[in-house]
């Protein structure tokens, strides 16, 4: 972003990579798949790079409003300085926070989740799927809480899956009734409380009931939780957990 701005250029959209997308080895693959799609569609975009910082979502959900607002105000200053208008992110937590909680602190942007943005690219003809790497595969989609219930985005990811010519199979809890993967509310960063089982195992069992070839996720944290769940069931050889951006990129043979 800094380089473009120095040249006096303004990208169409800022890709907010997020902490997972920047540092988590699994999530980095999602970041790269999404970048390949952006390049294929010739989208003018930039990233903040080392000027990006945590949105503050996990701090806020953990109860540390102070740390959240410090992060938010800092990020907003950076984005406002670069005159950012439009933000796209592959993380529903970043998406929710920037979209809903930043405006009250002075950060007003058009914020899109990457599934919404990809859907727009298809609609405008900038992306078009040919070939069917996933033709006939059974794909089940796990609704991330912060995309689904939190922001009522249920259809964009599903429409993308349908473009793969794959068979979209729904779990018994989906859309508004989707079951959490267990990572939200800062649970990702702590051990769960005592109980009978972990939430991600429960959700993985629901996914397994659909006998999927692929569990599609749209959130790096859900991806981690579901991947762990599949490993726990020792099914990693037959069931893949993939982000929707990865599915599209692979189908596009990128």
């Amino acid at each position: 972003m800094a380089e473009l701005f120095a040249k006096g250029e303004q990208p169409e959209v800022l890709f907010w990579v997020g902490c997972a997308g920047s540092f988590d080895d699994r999530a980095k693959k999602i970041t790269k798949a999404f970048i390949r799609l952006l390049n294929k569609a010739e989208v003018s975009f930039a990233v903040l790079g080392t000027e990006e910082s945590c949105t503050g979502d996990p701090a806020k959900r953990a109860g540390n409003e102070f740390l959240f607002q410090m992060q938010a105000v800092t990020n907003i200053e950076v984005m406002n300085a670069y005159e950012v208008k439009k933000v796209v992110t592959a993380c529903p937590h970043c998406f929710n926070t920037i979209k809903n909680e930043y405006p009250g602190l002075g950060g007003n942007y058009e914020v899109l989740h990457h599934t919404q943005f990809l859907k727009q690219l298809f609609e405008s003809g900038k992306l078009g799927l040919q070939g069917g790497t996933f033709k006939g595969k059974r794909i089940t989609y796990h609704d991330p809480c912060y995309l689904g219930r939190a922001n009522a985005v249920y259809e964009a990811p599903r429409e993308l899956i349908k473009k793969l010519d794959a068979e979209l199979v729904e779990m018994k809890n989906c859309r508004k009734k989707g079951l959490c993967c267990g990572a939200g509310g800062a649970q990702m960063f702590k051990e769960p409380e005592n109980g009978d089982k972990d939430v991600n195992i429960e959700r993985t069992e629901q996914a397994m009931e659909t006998k999927p070839d692929i569990i599609a996720a749209a959130c790096p944290f859900c991806n981690t939780m579901m991947t762990d769940g599949v490993k726990n069931k020792e099914k990693e050889a037959s069931v893949a957990v993939m982000d929707i951006a990865e599915l599209i990129a692979q189908a596009e043979e990128l």
Binding site: V17, C19, S22, F23, D24, K28, V47, G49, T50, E52, S53, C54, G56, P58, A59, K60, R61, A62, G63, N64, E65, F66, L67, Q69, M70, Q71, V73, N96, K99, N100, E101, G104, L105, C145, R149, A150, N151, A152, K176, K177, L179, C180, G182, G184, G185, M188, F189, K190, E191, P192, E193, N194, G195, D196, K197, D198, V199, I201, E202, R203
Partner: protein, 445 residues
């Protein structure tokens, strides 16, 4: 002595409604113990929500069986209240079936009340079976032990008794009309139609007119006294939802569920920190009010809408049955969060009553004495409970406010979370990675 029944009835009515009004006042006072909340926006959408969710029961039918049964009892309750209006007027004026002049309309009305009463009986019996024979899991959670379970059954028994009294009253009345008893029968013919009590009426065929009058009057009086008692039972019961569901859905959250409110008191602090003009060595203003407490440890720290939520909860447990933490055996139950909040608020209210209008510290608070930290930290903030609630209650907001108190007032976050927050403070990510390495992925293959 001629007017004795009328006077007795009027006195009962005044006592019943008066005592209820007294408790409603108490209820309003307790709710107002909460902090202010701005809910003045978007009133058209709010009215719409109330019409859809409370009046139209739109979220009840998400679970079709319970939803349909509930609609029967709800419609029965609302419609049969037209009949209660007639009963009250009859009682005050000493008339019999005052509205009978409506003719055929009246017959249709009474007939439909009877059919509804019968359907309510059926629905209530099925509800009882669900709670006590099939023993649906959500009615058996730990927080339902004792009074909540009794309360639930008691409501069903009262409704059952009221419906039977209503039908008995009609059956005896029908017989009296058939026998042409004075005061009951009308020259215009039979008043009302009796599709259900017509089946009970033959049981009374051999009774004398005076015995019939005794049966009819007994049922009539017990029915209306029962209704007045039930009205006053509401305040002591989860059944308050029949009234509070309406304001509660009106004041329900209109924003996206993922949007948690930004604390203004924190914003002020943050602005001060970011202000280059601020004097870092300034002594605090002597007259400055005490800084606002962050988060909630007791009911008075919550907003009045959250307290209204607590009184509105009817303990149906849809929230808890959708909660991922509860489903996997953790202690958290969103329903218990609401019940605890209500119970604590009631305790605070009683404390105020006992101490002539002011609260005297009782050494207790909502946190720890009612809601444990283990429950609060088990929440994934997934909003399943909020989505599930048929009357727009938001248990998640209470959990988050209490977490804020734990973290910002007590620094009492679990160690793992303190590490995460330390990382965000130091290097701008929840994990211990260097901020300068944020773009490294771009150069990795």
């Amino acid at each position: 002595m001629e007017y004795f029944p009328n006077i007795l009835f009027a006195l009962l009515l005044i006592a019943g409604i008066g005592y209820f009004a007294r408790n409603v006042k108490k209820l309003a006072r307790n709710i107002k113990l909460g902090k202010e909340a701005d809910v003045s926006d978007n009133s058209s959408q709010r009215w719409k929500n109330m019409a859809m969710i409370a009046l139209g029961q739109s979220k009840m039918v998400v679970r079709p069986i319970a939803g349909l049964l509930h609609i029967i009892v709800y419609v029965g309750f609302v419609i049969i209240n037209i009949e209660v209006l007639e009963i009250i007027l009859d009682g005050l004026l000493g008339t019999h079936r005052l509205f009978a002049f409506l003719g055929p309309v009246y017959n249709v009305l009474i007939g439909s009340f009877e059919i509804l009463a019968f359907l309510v009986v059926v629905a209530v019996i099925i509800f009882w079976i669900r709670r006590n024979v099939i023993r649906l899991q959500r009615f058996l959670k730990p927080e339902m032990k004792g009074w909540p379970k009794k309360d639930g059954n008691l409501i069903l028994y009262i409704e059952l008794v009221l419906m039977f009294l209503f039908l008995t009253m009609n059956a005896a009345d029908y017989q009296l009309q058939l026998k042409g008893a004075a005061h009951y029968a009308s020259e215009a013919g039979i008043m009302g139609s009796f599709p259900i009590s017509g089946f009970i009426a033959p049981l009374f065929e051999n009774l004398s007119i005076s015995s019939l009058i005794l049966v009819e009057r007994t049922a009539w009086w017990l029915h209306i006294v029962g209704i007045l008692l039930f009205l006053n039972y509401l305040y002591y019961s989860k059944h308050l939802h029949i009234l509070l569901a309406f304001p509660n859905t009106y004041y329900g959250n209109l924003k996206p569920k993922g949007q948690f409110k930004n604390l203004q008191s924190v914003t002020n602090e943050v602005k001060l920190m970011m202000d280059p003009e601020a004097d870092p060595f300034a002594a605090p203003d002597e007259d400055a009010p005490e800084p606002e407490k962050f988060g909630a440890s007791d009911v008075a720290d919550l907003s009045w809408v959250q307290l209204l939520n607590a009184y509105t909860c009817t303990e149906c447990g849809r929230c808890t049955s959708e909660c991922p933490a509860n489903q996997t055996g953790k202690k958290l139950s969103p329903r218990k969060i609401m019940m605890d909040t209500r119970d604590r608020l009631e305790a605070v209210g009683k404390n105020i009553d006992a101490n002539k209008g002011s609260f005297v510290d009782d050494g207790k608070q909502l946190l720890d004495d009612y809601i444990t930290r283990e429950e609060l930290w088990a929440c994934t903030s997934c909003n399943a409970c909020v989505e599930a609630c048929p009357v727009s209650i938001d248990p998640l907001s209470i959990i988050m406010d209490m977490r804020q108190y734990l973290v910002m007032e007590q620094s009492a976050a679990p160690t793992d979370l303190n590490n995460m927050m330390g990382n965000i403070e130091n290097n701008g990510a929840p994990w211990p990675f260097n901020q300068m390495d944020r773009l490294n992925w771009a150069n990795e293959s």
